[in-house]
């Protein structure tokens, strides 16, 4: 555990250097404080508006997490469906790719029309942007099971479902987790975009603070949004460590 904490130190150095440099640059007048607020002002905004910001943080967390869970379940289910035959894959996979290329910012107003203002729109937005990497990675993982192991399962009369749960899923786990890592970051982005258009949370705090010229508060909200993304990412890493440490090279 101590070793793990120590390994985080190198990542903190750039953060500290950047924070101190920006603070100095603003105080020296090299950067305009209405464009980039001094870190001390951001910290002050965090304290001053803490009730509002942390409430927004909780709301955004709930929406992002829910959207992420839905895309985990939905993405894996769709990947299993797509993997069932080459014909199904040829028929449906192009649409999954097409779905991915539609910009969320363009369809977000549609989501508001369908789901109304509020959490449902935000969750839908988080879901839409984060499902594709789960589908793509799970599908690749499921399809790249070693042929010899598939033969082994067939030899002893394993059913399709048994092979899926005892062979294909565990074998695909490293890839599934890679998909979830990407999806966790995207789910936070999707939730913020959803809140910009039709919801409450960090996204709407940013939007309102922007119109009030409160750059410090915008930064404080953005900082909290990235904390949320990091926390989700860390959660996936923890799951990855716990499930893969005994057998996969990536966690040894």
């Amino acid at each position: 555990m101590i070793a793990r904490l120590k390994s985080a130190i190198p990542a903190l150095i750039p953060f500290v250097v950047l924070t101190v440099s920006v603070e100095l640059a603003v105080r020296q007048g090299w950067l305009k404080s209405y464009l980039v607020p001094p870190p001390s002002a951001v910290f002050h905004a965090l304290i001053e508006s803490r009730a509002e910001l942390f409430g927004a943080f909780a709301t955004t967390s709930a929406s992002a997490l829910l959207g992420f869970l839905l895309s985990t379940i939905g993405g894996i289910a769709i990947a299993v469906f797509l993997s069932s035959s080459r014909a199904i894959q040829r028929a449906f996979y192009p649409y999954a790719v097409f779905f991915q290329t539609v910009p969320i910012i363009a369809i977000a107003p549609l989501l508001v029309i369908w789901f109304g203002y509020g959490m449902r729109t935000v969750v839908a937005s988080a879901f839409v942007v984060s499902i594709f990497p789960v589908i793509a990675n799970t599908l690749t993982g499921i399809l790249s099971t070693e042929p010899a192991l598939r033969d082994l399962f067939r030899l002893y009369g394993a059913s399709t479902w048994t092979t899926l749960f005892k062979l294909r899923f565990p074998a695909a786990l490293p890839q599934i987790l890679t998909g979830l890592r990407v999806a966790s970051g995207l789910a936070v982005i999707g939730a913020i975009v959803g809140e910009f258009i039709g919801g409450q949370g960090l996204g709407s705090v940013v939007d309102v603070a922007r119109t009030q010229q409160r750059v410090d508060k915008v930064f404080a909200a953005v900082l909290l949004a990235s904390v949320l993304g990091l926390a989700l990412f860390g959660l996936i890493n923890l799951v990855s460590y716990l499930t893969l440490r005994r057998w996969h090279a990536s966690e040894q």
Binding site: A148, L149, L152, R154, L155, Y156, G157, K166, W247, A249
Partner: protein, 235 residues
């Protein structure tokens, strides 16, 4: 029997009868269709013409297969890897663990049951793979160049052990290899395949005394090596 992977007929006019309890080695150059043949016997692949019959054909799970590499499930400890065939056949956990321990004892790996494949040497992994094949008590054991990737000494020990297991269990063994010395050492009968089409160039019964460390010094061993080598080289 016949098998075509368009545009090549990998196996054409192949016909062979293997009596129960025999140790048969199938020898041939790379790409001659040895592995395809083995997969057809295991019914993992359907022939395009002809058939494979196993007599009696009552038991579904009479055949076990050992691959070129160990092919263990890396997320499972050794014991659960060995017990896998029984698990797939629906045997209860307690019984399958018991039988897996017996199989592990047969390959001298009792101490490794809680370890993971990543923690084992190549030779140990292959022994786990062999135990996994034995746990289902097969009447027919198919091996596809199983020890090819191992060092000479490990390979020799495993060859000896395999031969002992064959005698103890009285099962039929079909062993595919491209090593003439391994075929002569292990088998009672050797079949040499042609480079193309799976034609049998030589079907030869090996008349050798007890297989042990001294066998390789025996002139009869050298004579058998020479016979098979001549058949391999002939076009």
């Amino acid at each position: 029997m016949r098998k075509v992977f368009p545009p090549v007929a990998v196996i054409e006019h192949f016909d062979l009868a293997v009596p129960s309890g025999e140790f048969l080695a199938i020898l041939g150059p790379s790409g001659c269709g040895k592995s395809t043949l083995l997969r057809i016997i295991a019914r993992l692949l359907a022939p395009d013409g002809g058939s494979v019959s196993i007599d009696p054909d009552a038991d579904r799970f009479q055949t076990s297969f050992v691959f070129q590499d160990a092919h263990l499930l890396p997320w499972r400890a050794v014991l659960d890897n060995v017990a896998l065939p029984l698990e797939l056949m629906g045997v209860a956990q307690e019984e399958r663990h018991g039988r897996a321990r017996v199989a592990l004892r047969e390959v001298d790996l009792t101490e490794a049951e809680d370890r993971y494949p990543a923690q084992l040497s190549g030779g140990m992994r292959m022994r786990v793979s062999l135990a996994r094949a034995l746990v289902a008590a097969p009447r027919l054991l198919l091996l596809d160049e199983p020890f090819a990737a191992l060092d000479e000494i490990t390979r020799f020990r495993l060859d000896l052990r395999l031969r002992e297991l064959w005698i103890e269990r009285g099962m039929t063994v079909v062993f595919v290899t491209h090593s003439i010395s391994e075929a002569v050492f292990l088998a009672n009968r050797a079949v040499v395949l042609a480079r193309r089409g799976g034609r049998i160039k030589l079907d030869h019964t090996l008349e050798l005394p007890e297989r042990n460390e001294d066998l390789r010094l025996d002139p009869r061993y050298g004579a058998e090596m020479k016979t098979l080598l001549a058949a391999m080289e002939e076009e």
